[in-house]
């Protein structure tokens, strides 16, 4: 009796809420964007969401994605889900979706015609599991960039290279001038990412896909990939005096002319901008290392945990729509230095390097990235291998390639 009365009372209050004017709903959003430029970009998203009459509760988690993801996952699995959370789209949240903890956004997507506006299409594919859409991609971050310091090459007395091969040839001159030819920070993901870039640039798109998409272990042990390992060996020799850990410290070596260049994703551009450097004049960017101009469609996306609260569920839909709104896309991506996920927005304010990226995107020269193709487990094994490879000059190419093929054989 008493229980029934209580439920009735609750039902009444809920009904009242729905009937009354739409009250602002607080929605907590977790993400790991905490550096200066990133925080400014997030503020744009929050502003756009608050303008819809709801309230963005910022749940920034300091540290990188590696620190933040375990916290997010344990909150979702532990029964204390947030309103929405960032992941790199791809396979990081795959199991959460399979366990039924994430919200199906197919209705919102159909209403907003996401399949038509989101470009390239592979972005939405990596949000789709079992025919249903579970995330909203917000930007494209690509790894395929070589950042070169014009001042360093001037000091060494060689012209700024146009591609990877010229760069390798210029390395001795740089070394003679006391410049570290290539900066690779000590964090494991940097070495691993640099190899993946080389695989796509030196080996070509087909090689990349055969290894990471088809997971062909025999091919990974073969002569095509051996060529890439030869290039990785060049990179290892060029990077041996780096002595820094974080990627932005390595980027800083390029900015100050202590290093000739760095293979790093387009997020490095923010560092150049903060340092007041101009693309083309102070630094040069070569997408696809100047060999194979492709862009990988990695990036960030928002996932929405399944919530019981009807108001919050409604606010989730609003947020999902807001994130893909053309205005939000432009404001956010300009601050973030990444490319928008819609083809129909105007990015006149973009700098030279971003425009190069947009042009490649418009041509459709895109490949899926490892976040989309490999499980986190295989990624970690790969990171362990390449951080060892880059730090150990006496590790032979044959041994490294054999271990690489083993990882591909067991990859899922």
């Amino acid at each position: 009796m008493r229980y029934k009365f209580l439920t009735a009372a609750f039902a009444a209050t809920v009904a009242l809420n729905v009937a009354g004017p739409a009250a602002a709903t607080d929605l907590e959003v977790t993400h790991w964007w905490t550096s200066g430029g990133e925080a400014a970009a997030v503020a744009e998203l929050a502003k756009a969401f608050d303008a819809t009459g709801n309230h963005w509760v910022d749940g920034a988690i300091a540290g990188s994605g590696g620190t933040a993801r375990p916290i997010m996952i344990s909150r979702i699995t532990g029964g204390d889900p947030m309103g929405a959370t960032q992941f790199n789209h791809g396979r990081q949240a795959e199991e959460l979706v399979q366990a039924g903890l994430m919200r199906d956004l197919t209705d919102v997507a159909t209403k907003g015609k996401w399949t038509e506006v989101v470009r390239p299409k592979s972005l939405l594919d990596s949000c789709t599991i079992g025919g249903k859409i579970y995330c909203v991609p917000v930007n494209i971050h690509s790894w395929q960039w070589l950042w070169l310091s014009n001042a360093a090459f001037e000091k060494a007395g060689v012209p700024v290279p146009k591609n990877w091969n010229e760069y390798v040839a210029a390395a001795p001159a740089l070394e003679k001038a006391g410049i570290v030819p290539l900066a690779v920070g000590g964090q494991a993901w940097q070495a691993s990412g640099a190899f993946d870039v080389l695989l796509a640039a030196v080996g070509g798109t087909d090689t990349f896909l055969k290894v990471y998409k088809d997971k062909d272990a025999k091919f990974a042990a073969g002569p095509e990939v051996a060529k890439v390992f030869k290039a990785a060996d060049d990179a290892r020799k060029m990077a041996k005096n780096t002595n820094v850990q974080d990627w932005n410290q390595a980027t800083n070596m390029v900015i100050t002319g202590k290093a000739g260049g760095q293979i790093m994703g387009d997020w490095a551009q923010g560092e150049f901008q903060v340092a007041g450097k101009t693309a083309g004049k102070d630094y040069t960017c070569l997408p696809g290392l100047g060999l194979n101009e492709v862009i990988a469609t990695g990036g960030d996306a928002f996932y929405f945990p399944l919530l019981k609260d009807a108001d919050k569920a409604k606010a989730q839909e609003v947020l999902a729509e807001t994130l893909l709104d053309p205005k939000t896309q432009v404001a956010f991506n300009l601050k973030k230095g990444s490319l928008p996920v819609r083809g129909d927005v105007d990015l006149a304010a973009a700098n030279d390097c971003m425009k190069k990226g947009l042009a490649i995107l418009a041509k459709g020269a895109v490949i899926p990235w490892t976040d989309q193709l490999l499980s986190q487990d295989s990624q970690k094994q790969k990171e362990d291998l390449f951080s060892e490879f880059f730090a150990k000059p006496d590790m032979t190419l044959e041994e490294a390639q054999k271990r690489f093929a083993d990882i591909i054989a067991s990859a899922d």
């Binding site: 375990p70 996952i73 199991e95 000590g186 494991a188 002595n243 850990q245 970690k380 730090a391 150990k392």
Partner: protein, 297 residues
């Protein structure tokens, strides 16, 4: 007789027994239960979420075929031997020196114990800077004129674990010194007088009389050091984050990385079970000797 006494024993000190129930439950459910759960799931192929899908010893085969795990074990052994031997020897020497009724003893004690007030993270960062070749010890000595001076442990794969041990010793020796000093102060003054009357040299008195008398202190110290060795994680993360490459990885970091970063719970559980096993191999025979032996006396 004995039959009527038995229930009594159960109800003796009833209040104390009731009061200890929460702790017994915590130990039973959280520690033992959690351990059993971990061991059970280490035989499954759980990825991000725990799932009871048994795969036998697969996770263990993979673990022992992984170069990174083997390096981690090797590093733990080197780090363990170094921190055990050096913190005991240095700690005892410092304590013995402080025990010579020197002036400003309080000041010295404070200085030696001070690093212990810092967390491993801070210690790690401080030593990361000190050992950085460009602006640390090497940089300073080179700027003084010895340009060929080479001291670069953190960026040299073959000696990086020693660089980490230096930081650990700097941080932990002060505590060991204090424990030892307390032990030395607990020795009866008359023993010293007797030794002096018998004309035994001081180093012999320390080695053959004082140290054997300090056995309980040494055992406490040993337990504190040993538990610090097995769980070393934050120091490595702060100093090198496992680098260069994977040269300074440790088992605890492997467990964390594979459980949370690689989203492979099964592999992480297998590694943590191996850590538990290695602790058991050391602890069980020791506990048997220590506690089993006493009953016989």
């Amino acid at each position: 007789m004995s039959n009527s006494e038995r229930p009594n024993r159960l109800f003796r000190n009833l209040n104390a027994k009731i009061a200890s129930i929460p702790m017994v439950l915590t130990a039973g459910v959280v520690f033992v239960g959690g351990t059993a759960w971990t061991v059970l799931y280490s035989f499954t192929n759980s990825k991000l979420l725990p799932r009871l899908n048994f795969v036998g010893l697969d996770q263990y085969y993979r673990l022992w075929a992984t170069p990174r795990w083997l390096i981690s074990i090797e590093n733990l052994l080197i780090y363990g031997v170094i921190s055990l031997v050096f913190s005991l020897v240095i700690g005892f020497l410092l304590a013995a020196l402080l025990d010579q009724k020197i002036r400003f003893e309080d000041t010295f004690r404070t200085i030696f114990l001070y690093p212990f007030a810092l967390s491993f993270i801070v210690t790690g960062l401080v030593w990361q800077w000190l050992l950085n070749p460009d602006f640390g010890v090497q940089g300073v000595v080179r700027s003084l004129g010895w340009t060929s001076f080479d001291f670069n442990p953190l960026y040299n794969s073959s000696i990086v674990i020693y660089g980490i041990s230096i930081a650990a010793l700097w941080q932990g020796t002060g505590l060991i010194m204090c424990l030892m000093l307390a032990g030395l102060r607990g020795i009866d003054e008359d023993i010293w007088k007797a030794a002096r009357v018998d004309g035994i040299p001081m180093w012999k008195t320390y080695l053959f009389i004082i140290i054997p008398m300090m056995r309980p202190v040494f055992i406490t110290t040993l337990v504190i050091i040993a538990s610090g060795i097995v769980k070393v994680y934050d120091l490595v993360v702060a100093q090198t984050s496992g680098g260069p490459g994977i040269a300074s990885e440790v088992p605890a970091k492997y467990v964390y990385d594979y459980m949370f970063f690689a989203q492979n719970l099964g592999q992480g559980f297998a590694a943590s079970t191996m850590m538990l096993l290695s602790v058991m191999i050391v602890i069980v025979p020791w506990a048997y000797l220590e506690f089993g032996g006493r009953k016989r006396v």
